[in-house]
Amino acid sequence: MKSLNLLLVLSGLMAAASLAAATDDLKIVANKNIGADSISAAELKSVFLEESIRFAGTSVEPVLEDKGAVHETFLKEYLGKDANNLETYYRTLVFNGRGSMPKTLHSDAEVLAYVAKTNGAIGYVSAAIKADNVKTLVVTSGRNRGERILLTRTDPEYPEILRKMHIGGMVRLRVTISAKGNVETAVLLGGNPILGENAITAVKRWVYAAGSLQTTVEVSIPFDPEH
């Protein structure tokens, strides 16, 4: 028991040390009418670049923030563009009659409020923010949803002591899915190790649609101490 407490304290210190980085973490939020719990990185990019107008059988609308660390991280990690390049991209669409300027809001709170009330809206907010009236989408690294569709998802256990200590953030796993759809292995890539262990336990219970081959994807799971 002592060793567990020691581990918890150590992990707490590690989490505190990486708190600044954790505040930069983000989660993908969607209106509850979207019938999916996960979205691949390629699908997410396609939605935000206005190449796809539907996702999981629903008409979708991308919602951006206009500035901030979360915004910069999202652009870099998921769209591969900086803010200037993205602005140029959207303007080229608009002035050639090939798209529209997406909804751009000023804060996480505005994004959450808009996504909650707008069917099909998909946005991004800080992983640390409480997000009650929206659903959080797990981002997988698969190229498209057709490859592996998540059928059954089990939420990981959030140790109460960590929650009370406000230790949270994003856990990233590399998950190997068998052709039949079972999770064969899950390896921690980043995030709090205790939360990571719980995430691995949960993810091993996930079931994907059967595919033609074994697949490896990257999964990000947010742990929100306020939620």
């Binding site: 396609s46 591969g80 900086d82 303007r91 050639n96 009659g97 090939r98 529209s100 498209n144």
Partner: protein, 415 residues
């Protein structure tokens, strides 16, 4: 009179945009429960050259006859159906002359990411920037490389009245994305464009110029981050109609003039590497044009080749620097009845048959909506032939000088 009204309107627009630029994010309104977006742009340039007048302006004395603006509206009528239109107007020296045109008017139906249709007057996909060549605010440079994107000939490639099939597919094995566009339609040039203006020196006055064009563009977003490569092909069947004075006759009477394509095609290949603040572009375009002129009494073949390499780097949010080298050559031969009157222009080493342009530029973004550019061009050659590229004998009454340096200042608003 009209010019004065337009200049006043443009000035008023600049003032309004300056005054309200902080509120320009919200350019949409509701109409029948649909959200309609409104966007616009305006640019004003000034060009000074040490020798030769350029782009039909009186640039050797400094010219500000370099203005354009556009305004568009668009909305989504149904989940997959988007409609919109843009009006565009410009004045560039002797070209444009503030005659507004419908730049594009499109109904766009997208089934899936891999399949969509556009119909109406549609911007033509040809190389990296044909469709965005008017959009000063998206480019680092005040003038795109004129060897590939001659601004005096924008009408020739900017849009077609017809339809596109387009889409994007992922390449298996994580090898990136392929985007395709195939199109067919009718090209219709303004009679205030560069080609019509050039031919007025031969006492040929076009009343219409255009015809069928069809082609395709294929671009590969490679798995190497930021690297895009692609190719475009454009075929055309053009007819120009007007009146002319017969050059082999002593009579000054005007007679009906017709010229038409025997063969007319463009190949363009391009690559772009854009990562972080750095963007490097390179394109090659070859335009082969074989025309029957003066009815079918004579034939003019022109072989226009251009390529450039450009680099741009954003130093900070408000400042970007760039440079490019642009190389243009033209060869022209006239056969038939008019053949004896013209000398074959096949030596592309002569200044009359090439333009080599070295360019440096600085772009300053005053805010999200307003930028200013300073650009220097150092040109060798003037490429004066039966197909234009910037230098026109009508505004260079004395003989052309072999070299031209140009200072270009430009500012643009967009919202």
């Amino acid at each position: 009179m009209y010019r004065r009204i337009y200049l006043w309107a443009f000035g008023a627009l600049l003032l309004c945009l300056g005054a309200v630029q902080a509120r320009l994010d919200a350019q949409e309104f509701k109409l029948f429960d649909r959200t309609v977006q409104v966007h616009g742009f305006a640019s004003q340039g000034f060009v000074y050259t040490n020798d030769n007048n350029w782009l039909t302006m009186n640039t050797s004395e400094g010219s500000g006859a370099f203005t354009d603006f556009g305004l568009n509206m668009s909305t989504r009528l149904a989940e997959r159906l988007r409609v919109g239109a843009q009006v565009y107007d410009r004045n560039l020296g002797q070209l444009g002359q503030y005659h507004p045109s419908l730049d594009w008017a499109v109904a766009d139906y997208r089934f899936q990411r891999w399949l969509g249709f556009r119909g109406g007057k549609v911007k033509t996909e040809l190389g990296l920037y044909t469709d965005s060549q008017d959009q000063d605010f998206v480019h680092t440079f005040a003038l795109l490389p004129q060897s590939v994107y001659p601004t005096d000939l924008r009408d020739a490639t900017i849009a077609h009245l017809g339809g596109d099939v387009y889409g994007t597919v992922s390449v298996p094995h994580r090898l990136g994305d392929l985007s395709y566009t195939a199109y067919a339609g009718h090209r219709s040039d303004s009679i205030y464009s560069g080609y019509s203006y050039l031919f007025s020196q031969y006492a040929v006055y076009f009343k219409s110029y255009g015809g069928l064009q069809y082609g395709a563009d294929l671009r590969w977003t490679t798995p190497l981050k930021g690297l895009l490569i692609g190719g475009s092909r454009l075929n055309e069947n053009i007819t120009g109609k007007g009146v002319a004075i017969n050059p082999s006759s002593t009579s000054l009477a005007l007679f009906p003039y017709v010229e038409s394509s025997k063969a007319d095609w463009t190949n363009q290949f391009y690559g772009q590497y854009a990562v972080g603040r750095l963007k490097i572009d390179s394109e090659y375009r070859r335009y082969w044009r074989d025309q029957f002129i003066y009815g079918e009494t004579s034939e003019n073949t022109t072989d226009v080749r251009g390529w450039y390499v450009s680099g741009a780097y954003r130093i900070c949010q408000r400042l970007a620097l760039g440079a490019y080298y642009s190389r243009y050559t033209i060869a022209s031969i006239i056969t038939g009845e008019l053949g004896p009157y013209y000398v074959d222009q096949t030596n592309t080493g002569l200044p009359a048959n090439h333009i080599y342009d070295k360019v440096i530029t600085a772009r300053v973004d005053l805010n999200k909506f307003w930028n200013m550019k300073v650009e220097g061009h150092f040109m060798e050659g003037y490429g004066n032939s039966e197909y234009p590229d910037g230098f026109y004998p009508q505004v260079n009454i004395n003989e052309f000088k072999p070299n031209t340096n140009a200072l270009v200042l430009k500012t643009s608003f967009s919202f």
